[in-house]
């Protein structure tokens, strides 16, 4: 009974808004909180949170395609990587400021988004889209590996500069705070965009397409336009993340950035946290990033534990942790029924009546 009340609380939109605000407020204040409490390792925690926000933003952008629209596009990291490389290479070869990268990078990512969207439009079934996007990612990765003269291939591209100072804020030092707030802005903005999109008419169209393309079409949804629109938005947002990543981490390799390893992480984060919501990807990204950091010590077993978590969660909670309210309630009910049933059984046996009936017929068969 108590679990039900708790869920009811979380359902109210006022509580939801309050929780979201609280979350972002805490994130905003985190560096300050860390410094005030004289916690020795602020830089480390900030570093972890930066990654959390970065991956959360990426997962949110992928969630638009996968969770809301049901398109198994495994090319999200391509948009990320293209923006990263574009910004870095323009910075190094053309001496453009990394801040300009924020303009150029996402645009290039969007262009690639369009290129990916075109074949995907043709394909209806998930396996085909999976293969097509995987092939496209691999093509991009191999191109970047092979064009060593410009991209330095697997040797790594580290010639980009960090963000130049703006308004007196210095991005070069060991201090992570400028990066922290930069990614915070990006993250919050992306979360806002996704939330607004989900509630808009496009958001409805997306969900309609996910549930039944034919039905959506018959109701007047322009499938082609919607798909392209969402691909463009998704890749654009991913582009921002890519530019930040390039000038923060300061090294790029094609496999790290275009490989399926990165994509797998987004999948895991989204599935774990719950698709088709805003809180799902955020929760998943934060949870998994933090767990992976904590497990750094057991480096050897890290991925093993990661895989086990994924398997177990998927089997028990296939909709992701934050989407499983209905399932938790069911379990609560089952436990309740079981307890009542046990009580009745004992009572009946002890009263030695002629006919034994059970309260809930379901238990017999």
């Amino acid at each position: 009974m108590n679990t039900y009340k708790i869920f009811k609380f979380f359902d109210k939109s006022k509580s939801k808004a309050a929780i979201s605000l609280a979350f972002f407020a805490v994130l905003l204040m985190m560096p300050i909180i860390l410094r005030i409490s004289s916690y020795r390792n602020e830089s480390y925690v900030e570093g972890v949170l930066i990654l959390c926000m970065l991956w959360a933003a990426m997962t949110l952008s992928w969630n638009l395609l996968m969770g809301y629209m049901g398109i198994w596009s495994l090319a999200q990291q391509v948009f990320f990587g293209i923006a990263a490389y574009t910004s870095s290479m323009m910075n190094y070869y053309l001496h453009l400021s990394p801040w300009v990268g924020f303009i150029v990078g996402p645009l290039c990512a969007t262009f690639v988004g369009l290129l990916v969207a075109i074949p995907v439009l043709r394909l209806k079934a998930a396996p085909y889209i999976i293969i097509a996007t995987m092939c496209l990612s691999e093509i991009v990765r191999l191109i970047f590996i092979n064009l060593v003269k410009w991209t330095r291939g697997e040797l790594g591209f580290w010639q980009m500069e960090p963000f130049n100072s703006i308004l007196g804020i210095n991005f070069n030092g060991a201090d992570k705070i400028p990066y922290y707030y930069l990614i915070f802005i990006i993250f919050a903005a992306i979360a806002l965009v996704c939330a607004l999109l989900a509630k808009s008419s496009t958001g409805l169209a997306m969900k309609a397409i996910r549930d039944s393309q034919e039905a959506a079409e018959s109701l007047g949804v322009d499938i082609v336009k919607t798909k392209i629109k969402v691909f463009l938005i998704s890749s654009y947002l991913a582009g921002f993340c890519g530019v930040f990543f390039a000038h923060y981490i300061m090294i790029l390799t094609p496999t790290d950035v275009f490989g399926q390893g990165l994509m797998t992480e987004f999948i895991a984060m989204n599935v774990f946290g719950g698709m088709a919501t805003i809180r799902g990807p955020i929760f998943g990204a934060f949870f998994i990033t933090i767990i992976m950091e904590t497990l750094q010590g057991i480096d050897d077993y890290k991925l093993l534990i990661y895989a086990l978590i994924l398997i177990i969660t998927t089997l028990i909670l296939p909709n992701g942790i934050l989407n499983s309210k209905a399932q938790f309630i069911k379990w609560g009910n089952k436990v309740k029924n079981f307890r009542i049933h046990k009580k009745v059984e004992l009572k009946e046996f002890s009263s030695k009546s002629d006919s034994i009936k059970l309260v809930n017929n379901r238990i017999i068969s």
Binding site: N361, R362, I364, S365
Partner: protein
């Protein structure tokens, strides 16, 4: 032969069958009527133990059928031609028929049954090497019934055999149903929307509406009954 008591069935949390009681005796043809959505196919699926959670009793020749998994039913002599036939579209007619005998170990008996089935359905004989998915509705129905006979069942359930078929084909299908019952003594349940032909062929009938039985009796009497005539025969 088959005795169902207090059968309740649920798709998840939604109840779809309410306290169903029915009986089929040896060598009988029993028909279950009802309009669309009444729960007829659900009843078939529930007897097979597929897709629904169920409670109550299903007894077949004294044995509790609830404990028998779907793929073992045929070994007990129970078979079902599902709604929509469900043939194997990429296998030939002959292969479909032979698959019907998958569970039987007796090669000689299978051969005899095969010959008998072919004689029952001369149209199939002409199409033995044709892919089952390319045949007409009537031919598919024949194939489906033939397939199910290959295991020499004691008990046969047919779910809407007349679905999508032209009236004269429906007649021949029901002729075959009568024939199997007479020649081999197979007990049959026919689930049907076409009340007219079903009641003409059957010995007894039940009416299923909204998941529960609301009428039962002798088939001829039901045919004459003004209620049935109004509701199901459009008279």
């Amino acid at each position: 032969m088959l005795k169902i008591s207090n059968l309740n069935a649920y798709y998840g949390d939604v109840q779809v069958l309410y306290d169903v009681n029915l009986e089929v005796n040896d060598r009988e043809i029993v028909t279950i009527l009802g309009s669309n959505g009444a729960g007829k196919t659900t009843l078939m699926k529930t007897i097979c133990g597929v897709e629904t959670t169920r409670s109550g009793t299903i007894e077949f020749d004294g044995e509790n059928l609830m404990k028998v998994p779907a793929h073992k039913l045929v070994t007990k002599g129970i078979t079902l031609t599902p709604e929509g036939r469900h043939l194997f579209p990429e296998l030939t007619v002959k292969e479909n028929l032979l698959l019907g005998a998958y569970s039987s170990k007796d090669k000689k008996a299978t051969k005899d049954t095969y010959d008998w089935v072919i004689s029952l359905f001369p149209r199939l004989k002409e199409r033995l090497i044709q892919y089952a998915g390319t045949m007409s509705g009537g031919e598919q129905q024949m194939c489906a019934i033939g397939r199910v006979l290959m295991s020499n069942p004691k008990f046969l359930m047919l779910d809407e055999p007349s679905l999508g078929l032209a009236p004269n084909i429906v007649d021949s299908v029901f002729d075959v149903i009568k024939k199997i019952n007479e020649e081999k003594g197979i007990t049959i349940i026919v689930v049907e929307q076409n009340a007219n032909i079903a009641l003409q062929t059957a010995d007894r009938g039940y009416v299923l509406e909204n998941g529960s039985i609301n009428m039962s009796g002798n088939a001829k009497e039901m045919l004459e009954s003004p209620d049935i005539q109004k509701l199901y025969l459009g008279l």
